[in-house]
């Protein structure tokens, strides 16, 4: 199978520093699934996780505005070269109060300030819900929000297909905002899998799994229950990740299919596939096991 071959990528891609990790790291079920050693409490998960991966996405910042003191304590638990991508809080993307959001942006900036100061903030991820279509009002809000987030390394992830147009990509490119590439179930109306680069500093990929039946359930355990095959990951590597890596200085790839620790397993598979193609993962000692 061609996709599984370990061919070397063209010159240029090998200089891109790619970080691969998972969306969140604190899942009790990952202990039962064998990713963490038996009896691992949630306090020990992050230090153990950092032995396997060099980056993680902070999911909890979607549920709650980050608080600087707690963020600083968390950053102190990881190696200096470990990086975080922080999700933008839901009150700025899913449950927006037109009268309050500007103050919340300021709060968010304050909350993640420790990560900026330590140089560990890889990206701020603005993930939009499927109902966030490309309407004049939503376009205006997105533009205003990106203005308010000026200076932060922002990546935007659309779920609705209406945003997959050149004018959007051009505007993101003008702003140097990263368009997140997504792998989603093959359902109508969802944003397609693309390899569009809008920011020469960073590309950003999210693997959500392809569980079409569970996708609309509103239940994470069904929505993100999917195990990628090596062939599916190799296809992504060849068709999108390697081409993007040729054009960008750094990359971040996250697996969100957390159920039964499929995410870290798939992430490690992808690390091997990219290494075989001459792309090095940044920083971590991947041979280490608990």
């Amino acid at each position: 199978m061609a996709a599984l071959s370990s061919r070397k990528v063209q010159a240029g891609a090998g200089t891109c520093r790619i970080r691969i990790g998972t969306s969140g790291y604190s899942y009790a079920e990952w202990t039962a699934a064998g990713f963490y050693p038996p009896g691992t409490g949630s306090q020990r998960m992050l230090p153990l996780y950092t032995q396997r991966f060099g980056v993680t996405e902070l999911n909890y910042t979607w549920y709650q505005m980050p608080k600087a003191d707690a963020v600083a304590r968390m950053a102190a638990k990881v190696p200096v070269d470990f990086a975080f991508a922080a999700k933008l809080t839901r009150t700025l993307t899913h449950e927006v109060d037109p009268n309050a959001w500007r103050a919340q942006v300021a709060q968010y900036r304050d909350g993640i300030a420790p990560l900026r100061q330590s140089g560990q903030l890889l990206a701020v991820l603005a993930q939009w819900p499927p109902f966030f279509e490309r309407t004049p009002a939503n376009r205006r809000y997105l533009a205003e929000l990106l203005d308010a987030l000026e200076g932060l390394p922002v990546a935007v992830e659309f779920r609705h297909a209406s945003w997959a147009v050149d004018r959007v990509f051009a505007e993101l490119e003008r702003r140097r905002v990263t368009l997140a590439a997504v792998d989603l179930p093959p359902l109508p109306g969802l944003f397609p899998a693309l390899d569009v680069v809008t920011n020469p500093a960073l590309f950003y990929v999210r693997f959500h799994g392809r569980n079409a039946r569970g996708w609309g359930s509103g239940h994470m355990q069904q929505q993100f229950d999917y195990d990628y095959s090596a062939a599916e990951l190799a296809q992504w590597a060849d068709q999108r990740i390697v081409p993007m890596a040729r054009r960008v200085a750094a990359g971040a790839v996250f697996f969100n299919n957390h159920v039964r620790a499929q995410a870290p397993r798939n992430a490690e598979t992808l690390v091997g596939l990219l290494a075989a193609r001459g792309l090095k993962q940044f920083a971590r000692n991947l041979s280490k096991r608990f």
């Binding site: 969140g24 604190s26 899942y27 009790a28 079920e29 039962a32 409490g41 949630s42 306090q43 999911n59 909890y60 549920y63 709650q64 003191d69 707690a70 304590r73 509103g218 239940h219 994470m220 355990q221 039964r260």
Partner: protein, 406 residues
């Protein structure tokens, strides 16, 4: 005093605390949406010296507080709508809140029609997803279906979850991760900690200790100086340690049960009352140790001829104060002891255990009496902690040889 090491929990716990702020007002606003965005005061109508039972955030900002005389509250917030309390509505809303939480856990502990609900989602991750997502979904469903907007907090125990939800009043959310309990509490004022009573706070303030971090810096042995046998409890509390369980749905909250069997069957009021007072004292100590107040008092009398009489009364408000408990217990005894037959055994049950209510007495005179009672009981506790249980006794307990056979 030797403090036992804290047993490490078998696994990290995930406790959700839902708290509908200003619950009575929130329920009234669901029924009458025109009350939204307007100041609302809930207070009994017609009572000459009625005080505020609950109020909206707008009224609170205008200076209205629970327990304040309605006349004064009206002057402070002239545009407030004043409503009579409807306890039946609050009970129904509480039941609806509980129904929404049922799919998420078998361990759900509702408050006493006060908009509070603990949900233990420990170990449900594989079935329901991450606890934080469960908390958010539960909040979303309650908001959508009931029109209530509860604060939600997620923490490794009830104590920390409750403090976290207090921080974001009147709305919002707070997540405290495992291992974050002590740093989370450290910068907070000690008055935010549930279980520290007025007398505890007074002692801390005397020592100029006003923040949790200041108290947490003291060793258990140092805390023994101001707190005696309560030092262990205070030390655990300021470090965010709370091993109390969330009760299972339908599980009756644990009660404090105390017995006395008379050596010679009793037939005189003073003797029975002396024993009853001793039982009440012991119950009060236990309630305060558990950080609970009793909502219900039950007396079981076993007569010499084998007949048993059981009577009960409701404590309103719930209390852990010896004097308030005894006043109620005497009334229950009067109901139970109507036969001219000797009594062989007396059992006191303090049930309906709840967190000590923040609700003040309706009348100013009662509030003064409450305070005097609290001060007296706290003084007796202090003397006994220092010099032993026998150091001070209430006169009526000399009527009978003690200790109780409890």
């Amino acid at each position: 005093m030797k403090l036992e090491p804290y047993p490490p929990p078998a696994m990290d716990r995930s406790i959700i605390h839902l708290n509908v702020a200003d619950f009575a007002v929130a329920v009234e606003r669901c029924i009458e949406p025109r009350l939204r965005e307007r100041p609302v005061i809930v207070a009994p109508a017609g009572a000459a010296r009625a005080v505020v039972y609950d109020m909206s955030e707008e009224a609170f900002r205008a200076g209205v507080q629970k327990g304040m005389a309605v006349g004064r509250a009206r002057r402070l917030c002239r545009d407030a709508t004043v409503l009579s309390p409807h306890p039946d509505r609050y009970q129904r809303a509480m039941a609806a809140l509980l129904r929404h939480a049922l799919p998420f856990s078998p361990r759900i502990e509702p408050g006493d029609a006060d908009g509070h609900l603990f949900v233990d989602v420990t170990g449900t991750g594989r079935l329901l997803g991450p606890p934080v997502d469960v908390a958010w979904r539960l909040h979303r469903q309650v908001r959508r279906d009931l029109g209530l907007n509860p604060i939600w907090a997620l923490a490794p125990n009830k104590l920390v979850a409750k403090v976290a939800s207090r921080l974001v009043k009147p709305s919002g959310e707070y997540i405290v991760g495992a291992g974050e309990e002590a740093p989370f509490l450290a910068p907070l004022p000690v008055a935010l900690l549930p279980g520290l009573e007025r007398d505890d706070l007074a002692r801390l303030f005397e020592l100029n200790l006003r923040r949790v971090a200041q108290v947490a810096a003291l060793s258990p042995r140092q805390l023994e100086v101001p707190f005696g046998r309560r030092a262990g409890f205070v030390h655990e509390t300021v470090h965010g340690i709370d091993t109390t369980q969330v009760l299972a749905v339908g599980e009756k909250p644990p009660a404090v049960v105390l017995d006395h069997v008379f050596d010679t069957d009793a037939h005189a009021d003073p003797v029975l009352e002396a024993v009853l007072y001793r039982l009440v004292e012991q119950a009060g100590v236990e309630l305060r140790r558990r950080r609970r107040a009793a909502r219900r008092l039950v007396l079981v009398l076993d007569h010499s001829d084998g007949l048993r009489r059981v009577r009960q009364m409701r404590a309103d408000p719930a209390t852990a104060n010896d004097l308030a408990l005894f006043a109620l217990a005497r009334r229950v005894l009067a109901l139970a002891w109507t036969r001219r037959v000797r009594v062989r055994r007396l059992r006191l049950i303090c049930g309906g255990l709840v967190f000590p209510p923040a609700q003040l007495s309706l009348f100013a005179s009662e509030r003064g009496e409450d305070r005097r009672r609290e001060n007296l009981v706290a003084a007796i506790d202090r003397i006994r902690q220092r010099f032993g249980d026998a150091a001070v006794q209430v006169g009526r307990t000399f009527q009978v040889a003690m200790p109780c056979g409890s």
